[in-house]
Amino acid sequence: MKKLSYRAELQKRQDVSIEPAWASKVERWYQLDEMGFAFCEALHTWDYLKDAIRPDLIILAIEGSSNRADKDFVTSGSNSPAKFVYTLPNISAAIIFQMLKVNGKVYCLSNGKDTVNLAAREAQAFAESGKNVWVFASPVMESSSFNREIIFSEYPS
């Protein structure tokens, strides 16, 4: 199974005065929340995905869902449309598709602390029934200075 990972320190807000290398691929990149920014950095790093055969299904599994973006929206006064759109748990899918210039089927799944493992089990089960599945997951990294990891896994292995 192809597995890639990217560690993201979401504590720091990105400096929007510095244009990232992938800026031209993403609509209003400077409004991305930290999770969206991390996805873009990861995808830019992963050359493998640029030419990989596209899957039948993408599973998006972000532990804790959009809690961080939800809190960000509330603490900013709850009047920022740019912050509100990132409070939708599936929004990273649109960013992934902008980066990879593809379209397709996405299941944004969650189940508390089991979210990342759930995605792996679901992908395995779908792979056994003949589907090619990509999983983009993000567990909470409690014992690390990096507090998020973006993980890509491809099924079947």
Binding site: S65, N67, I96, V102
Partner: protein
Amino acid sequence: MFVIDYDCLTAAGPHKENLMTALFEGKVCSHHAEKNDWQSDLVPGGLVALIQNRDATQSTVRDYLSQNLNALWKQIYKNLSQENLTQFMKSKVGLVFASTKGCVEDYIHKISDEASKNQSDPFFDICQDFTKLNPEISFAKSLTVSNACCSSHVALEYVQDIFDSQQLDFVILIAADLVGPFVYKGFNSLKVLSHTENRPFASDRDGLQLGEALAVVLLSRKPGDSKIQISQVASDTEGSSITRPSVNGLGLIRSLQKIKSKRSDLKPDLVIAHGTGTRFNDQAEDQALGEFLHEIGKPLTPITNTKWAIGHTLGASGCVDLIAGCEILKKQKVFSIKAHDLKDPQFKMNYLLGDQNITEPVEQILVTSLGFGGVHASLLLEKKNL
């Protein structure tokens, strides 16, 4: 997959019968939001269709959703035929929750920044509560699908895949979203809330009205004695824009074409459109439906919708529209968009407006949905075709 039974609680009332009465009788269930709706510092005036008799200050969203989803389920369970009950009790059963924001309103306004990083997602507790309230059911799977306002459609597509791979025999699909300060302020910040009236597909449409709904649908892999089948569900997510549907409704066309690829004899008698009443959504939907219905030789297929009456119920809206479609198939009676009778002259399609009606039999219904994050979806609902 087959629809065994269903019910919903909306601003129209506590059951599906109330929903259908509102749609047939032209009852608009919304009001202009007031500060005392949630005792919050929001900008009043946006249209909201709130569930009656729910005091948002007296119970948490979690408690309200858990208790009332369970009450809807208990009624369905009680009404199961002996054949379905026997099958259900000896089969593999799953629980799928479809929601856009779950019970986020319960904690997000008071939790610290630090604690929010480790807070569980706003959906988990609802699934947990439901399984605990139904210990007689051994759930083989329990999870949430949250694909914005297409959550119900995408959840149904997930169930379709689960059934196709024979992982489960039954799924209890629960869907719910409520409106509170977080959701209201979010949509208000996007300037998509109507402050006048919700008029889907009208030339002077100026936005959506937020709604609340809880819905439960029991789905089966095998027909049993079901009379209704969801023949196909398909979604398409793309990245052309985060908050707007794709240009010319392309994503929706792709989802409809996926359905057609599995059903070459697709001849819908009716479309229940997403129809939020916002400028861009309705335009994209009109273009997509126009192109697709012409392609299949059914350009005059009547189009109706539900949001003018009970509001846009976000992640639950697909389930509410599914239930409305099931009732149309059963009763052979179609509701129109009674909120207005003036179609946008730029739109080409055959919208059922005002007191317009159709008398032809309805065998196939397409139900469409659009959501933030570039997601577009549709499903084909029909009388059982075996």
